[in-house]
């Protein structure tokens, strides 16, 4: 359902970014980049309290005419950003949450791999497959 999915590291560089190839990918990259500011805003706003109280799911970051951007932050400040087509009105918040949860689980699986150094680009096939499954449904 997502049009673009990105995993951003703590230092705000992308670990993994993928979008449906039919579109102009640069546009999505730009959207993800700008969404990082919104994510930081949300984190700092909520982050005054204890980290535990901060929810991982950030919700709708900002809507544009064609797309909606959702965000999710892990406790290690790794951000997941998802761009969803606005025309896809059937997508509910719960579904977005579950997609982020799946992303998070796959991300932890990648981390468990001792051959993966944190900070590297994510090249796990399992992760790719999972992301593809989330994106392909659009068609």
């Amino acid at each position: 359902m997502a049009v673009c999915i990105a995993v951003i590291a703590k230092e705000n560089y992308p670990l993994y970014i993928r979008s449906t190839p039919t579109e102009d990918e640069l546009k999505f990259h730009y959207m993800v980049h700008t969404s990082l500011d919104v994510v930081d805003e949300k984190i700092s706003a909520m982050g005054k309290a204890l980290v535990d109280q901060r929810e991982l799911y950030l919700g709708l970051l900002y809507p544009t005419e064609d797309y909606k951007v959702y965000g999710y932050v892990t406790n290690s400040k790794v951000k997941f950003v998802m761009v969803v087509d606005s025309s896809n009105t059937a997508l509910r918040d719960n579904e977005i949450r579950s997609m982020f949860r799946k992303l998070h689980n796959s991300y932890t699986d990648v981390m468990c791999n001792p051959f993966y150094n944190p900070g590297d680009r994510i090249q796990s096939r399992a992760f790719d497959n999972m992301v593809t499954s989330m994106m392909i449904q659009v068609c």
């Binding site: 699986d109 468990c112 791999n113 001792p114 051959f115 796990s124 096939r125």
Partner: protein, 649 residues
């Protein structure tokens, strides 16, 4: 079947080939033709049968083939001339067949003449596999990188030579005609090639590699595989351990012929090898190998990091960053396969799934010994286990589990770990060493990333069993062990606290009683008179006697054997005297772990003190109650006497 030599170019007399010869030659020809063109892979034999007349064998592979026949070069030259290739300029099928027939003749000792081939001859013998293997490897090397292939090749040749020799001795199948003494090993080779070619199609791997591997291992019949592999692998052992597993892998690929996923099937030898490797990394076969340890180990295989990363992804089924034994076997097998040139599968093949691996080898090697030792050690040996566990607790290092080197002791340790419920630390360590089956089955359910949560249940379940029987020392738990240590070193603390006699007999009971307080109360009531020491004496005597295990027994598992022998000699009564003697033996050897012992002793001392205090309090309370009850009884009796005369009257 006649192949008219004149059909192509009138190169010689008509060639009479028997069926087996026809088959053999056509396959050989196909291989040479196929190799020459770079190996189209899918069933060269079929291609051969389809259009034998149109293919030509290139000079290179043909020359290799001829050389493999082990005839002197002049003979080969003669043959080449005679068969007409030189005249014609290429090796057509006719020329090739004539040449092969001439080679057979030459090998039979007949002169190289055209007349020779008129008579019936055995099939030509080739030390084929080597040369063809080279061809195949050469092609594959381009695809997969030469560095891996070339060292493999050299070792492959060595092993092949040996195996060929042994094959010739062991070959059982024979073609219809084989009058000569030396077994005609080549026909079965090639007949089997056709079989294996069919199977090779099913494989996902590089098909060029597969025919080569088949040829390489063709002579090896299934029963012979292991025997020939043995000597063949000896020179390989010197090399990196992985290469040995490669040769094992290749040979064993040939053995299993009925399954499309056979490259992913682990055979017994491979499994044994993997288990040994696992043990070298982690002596406890039912525990995990951590990610970093595995990473270092697998990096030695010189595969690229992304590939290793992918292999890890495939094999770590529960994604916990650690490998159990089946996961490790699967990963190792994938690495071996990858080094042999098989492309990695998209998903974990069913034969490499952990459940399958556990089911396929349920009682083999790694689990059998452990479970046997479990059953043995369950009733007995809790004290030593506790001792060891205590030490481990003090060390607080999960990697120290290798300290007990024996499998039986490993089992004991697990028992001890399972039996101890009280302390969280041992629990954490025990979870790691909990049975792999339990862990795996538990881990398979949710994605539990903490070992503790899954195996605690198992640990708890097991732990419930031992403490129930009262006489067993199991109740003593760690404190018993610590007391044993105290016994050994005879610290003053427990002696003073208990006010006991010679410390050794007194010490063990204390911890027992602490943990079995309800039971001890019951004991105290009927038995107890005064000092807890007396009860302490009685209970240790009780406990020591039935088990004939001096509490000082195993401070370390290592010394369990020594202690066991000494135990058998020591009656419980002689504990005090025996303890120092037994300890003398392990002392020199224990020096390494003396610090651990000290820590264990200190913690044990602390616990003993607490236990003593609690027991003393309990005792005094019980004494009070006893007095009160006595007084009540006296009062009641008085009343009864007062009342009785009335009633009697």
């Amino acid at each position: 079947m006649e192949v008219a030599a004149g059909g192509g170019c009138g190169a010689g007399p008509p060639l009479l080939l028997s069926e087996s010869e026809q088959q053999c030659y056509s396959e050989l020809f196909a291989r040479c033709a196929g190799a020459a063109s770079g190996g189209p892979g899918p069933g060269p034999p079929e291609a051969t049968r389809v259009a034998p007349s149109t293919a030509t064998a290139a000079a290179g592979p043909v020359a290799d083939l001829f050389r493999a026949s082990q005839l002197p070069p002049e003979t080969l030259h003669q043959i080449t001339e005679l068969c007409g290739a030189k005249r014609v300029g290429y090796f057509g099928p006719t020329q090739f067949y004539v040449a092969l027939k001439l080679i057979a003749a030459a090998q039979s000792g007949l002169p190289v003449r055209t007349e020779s081939i008129k008579c019936e001859l055995p099939l030509p013998r080739f030390v084929m596999s080597k040369s063809d293997a080279e061809i195949r490897f050469g092609n594959a090397a381009e695809l997969h990188g030469k560095k891996i292939q070339i060292p493999y090749l050299t070792t492959e040749k060595n092993s092949l030579k040996r195996m060929d020799d042994e094959d010739k001795q062991q070959e059982t199948q024979s073609p219809t005609m084989s009058p000569l003494a030396s077994p005609p090993s080549s026909p079965p080779h090639y007949q089997r090639v056709s079989l294996s070619h069919g199977y090779s199609k099913l494989r996902s791997g590089t098909e060029q590699m597969q025919p080569a591997s088949y040829e390489a291992r063709q002579p090896i019949g299934q029963p012979e595989g292991s025997s020939s592999e043995g000597p063949g692998s000896k020179p390989l052992r010197r090399q990196a351990s992985l290469i040995r597993s490669f040769s094992v892998e290749r040979e064993l690929q040939d053995n299993s012929t009925n399954y499309p996923d056979e490259p992913w099937r682990i055979t017994e030898e491979q499994r044994e090898y993997y288990v040994n490797q696992f043990r070298s990394l982690q002596p406890d076969p039912s525990s995990f190998i951590s990610g970093s340890v595995a990473k270092n180990f697998f990096t030695k295989s010189k595969l690229s990091i992304p590939e290793l990363s992918y292999i890890w992804e495939l094999s770590d089924a529960d994604c916990d960053g650690a490998l159990t034994l089946p996961e490790f076997c699967a990963a190792f097998h994938l690495i071996v396969a990858r080094k042999n040139g098989y492309p990695l599968p998209e998903g974990l093949p069913p034969t490499l799934q952990p459940e399958y691996l556990q089911a396929a080898f349920p009682k083999s090697k790694w689990e059998c010994a452990i479970f046997d030792s479990y059953s043995e050690s369950m009733p007995a040996n809790q004290q030593p286990c506790d001792l060891n566990r205590m030490e481990k607790t003090s060390v607080k290092d999960m990697a120290d589990f290798p300290v007990p080197t024996q499998d039986a002791t490993t089992g004991d340790d697990k028992q001890a770990l399972k039996s101890t419920i009280n302390e969280p630390l041992p629990k954490d360590t025990s979870e790691d060493t909990a049975t792999s089956k339990d862990c795996n089955s538990l881990k398979a359910r949710p994605r539990s990333r903490s070992y503790s949560s899954t195996s605690i249940e198992e640990t708890m379940k097991r732990g419930e069993d031992p403490p129930t029987p009262p006489p067993r020392p199991q109740k003593t738990h760690s404190r018993a062990s610590s007391l044993d240590l105290n016994k050994v070193f005879q610290p003053s603390v427990p002696a003073t606290n208990s006010g006991l006699l010679p410390p050794p007999p007194a010490l063990p009971p204390r911890p027992c009683q602490t943990q079995s307080e309800p039971v001890s109360e019951a004991d105290l009531h009927p038995q107890l008179n005064r000092a807890p020491s007396q009860a302490a004496e009685s209970s240790p005597a009780k406990k020591d006697a039935p088990h004939a295990q001096p509490p000082s027994k195993p401070i370390r598992r290592k010394f369990r054997t020594e202690n066991q022998t000494t135990e058998s000699q020591e009656p419980a009564a002689a504990v005090g005297g025996a303890a120092p003697t037994t300890m003398v033996k392990p002392h020199p050897t224990v020096q390494k772990q003396s610090s651990k012992q000290k820590k264990a002793i200190q913690t044990a001392i602390r616990k003993n003190k607490e236990a003593n205090a609690v027991l003393a309090r309990l005792n005094s309370e019980l004494q009070q109650q006893l007095k009160e009850v006595h007084q009540e009884r006296i009062a009641l009796e008085n009343q009864l006497e007062q009342l009785r005369p009335v009633t009697v009257l």
